[in-house]
């Protein structure tokens, strides 16, 4: 085996590191614009799904979003938009953030102009269990929210609770949806996340 001097080793690794760092810098900078387009499209898709746009191509999403939605000011600086829903009515998009079983969960709720009726929701998660908690992104779960009420008869904010079927019968049918069986903690996370949503005038 050849013997290498310390100077050689030091120079070798220095040159290698500098080469690698410059290579990666160019690569990241070069690909950044494309990645940002992808991230924005993904985010726009989420909001459009909540607003009832079902058949939107990914590369169209950002453009449609820009046409249909405008940002709204909020007191706490959270995201909110006014959006023209797929059925032509106006809605308010409210961003919600919470905790699932393994990591962050978040979503967008589209509320009709009466400030109570839900037009649609979409949820996303970082690392929930596939097939169980990850099903909060599923159409089968989110479609339950359509038409539910965020306020009770008297107009007080109650949120839409995510509850096990038959549990807490005092919560009216219009203010609740069924939790996902096998994903109790993720469902509770969605429940808590919706309870603290910022409706501005609740």
């Amino acid at each position: 085996m050849k013997n290498f001097s310390n100077t050689y080793i030091f120079l070798y690794i220095s040159i290698l590191v500098i080469a690698v760092v410059s290579l990666l810098t160019f690569l990241t900078l070069g690909l950044k614009p494309r990645q940002e387009v992808n991230e924005r499209a993904d985010w726009a898709m989420q909001i459009l799904r909540a607003a009832g746009y079902k058949q939107v191509a990914v590369n169209e999403a950002a453009r449609i979003f820009d046409q249909q939605a405008t940002a709204l000011p909020t007191t706490d600086g959270s995201e909110a938009y006014s959006i023209r829903c797929a059925d032509g009515s106006q809605g308010r998009v409210v961003r919600v953030d919470g905790k699932g079983l393994w990591g962050a969960i978040w979503g967008y709720v589209v509320v009709a102009e009466d400030g109570s009726t839900i037009k649609g929701v979409s949820f996303a998660h970082k690392s929930e269990t596939p097939g169980l908690g990850a099903n909060i992104t599923d159409e089968r779960f989110t479609s339950q929210f359509v038409g539910k009420q965020l306020r009770d008869m008297a107009g007080n904010f109650t949120s839409v609770r995510v509850l096990k079927k038959g549990k807490s019968p005092e919560v009216a049918e219009a203010n609740r949806v069924d939790a996902i069986s096998g994903a109790t903690l993720t469902s509770q996370g969605v429940d808590e996340m919706l309870l603290k949503m910022n409706l501005e005038d609740k």
Binding site: M1, F4, I9, Y12, L27, L31, D42, T129, G131
Partner: protein
Amino acid sequence: MDWKSYFGPLNRNNPILVQVLGVCSALAVTAQLKPAVVMALSVTVVCAFSNLIISLLRNTIPPRIRIIVQLLVVSTLVIAVDQFLQAFVYDISRMLSVFVGLIITNCIIMGRLEAFALSHNPIPSFVDGVMNGFGYGLVLVTVGVVRELLGSGTLWGHPIIPQAFYDAGYLNNGLMILPPMALILVGTLIWILNSKKDKAK
């Protein structure tokens, strides 16, 4: 060098089934076929090119710091692959999440660098990397097909099991989606391979 031995990774020297390397990622990304295929391709690219680069550098690398140099090359390639996935197949890169980054610690790659690239010429090293990537991919795809078909009734995201089956009371096997089932499937594959090996003796 016997050309037949290059095909070892696909059969009697499979990195997952025989050397039992890279099992962690094999369990994590095989719930569906699509991420499994992308993961297999990513590992193949990283394995082949790190083998090629290390083999080209092999006479200049001081043995005392060779692991550092190997890690540097592997992590550069993995970051590059991750950036490309984020730019071109964003939804799959989201599905693979941390497992792309974890290719750096995939023992198959370090193992091939140490066992092969450091002592062979560039072209055989490259071929060896490709074949080991394919050997890894072969298992991932097999497990991915079984898990997606039985767990979700789809392949590559398209429904395969006809609606009539569901109407007749057929249910998707939810257990297939969970990681332990991947372990059982990999175990079954090891069993099949070993029983074949015994017969060959």
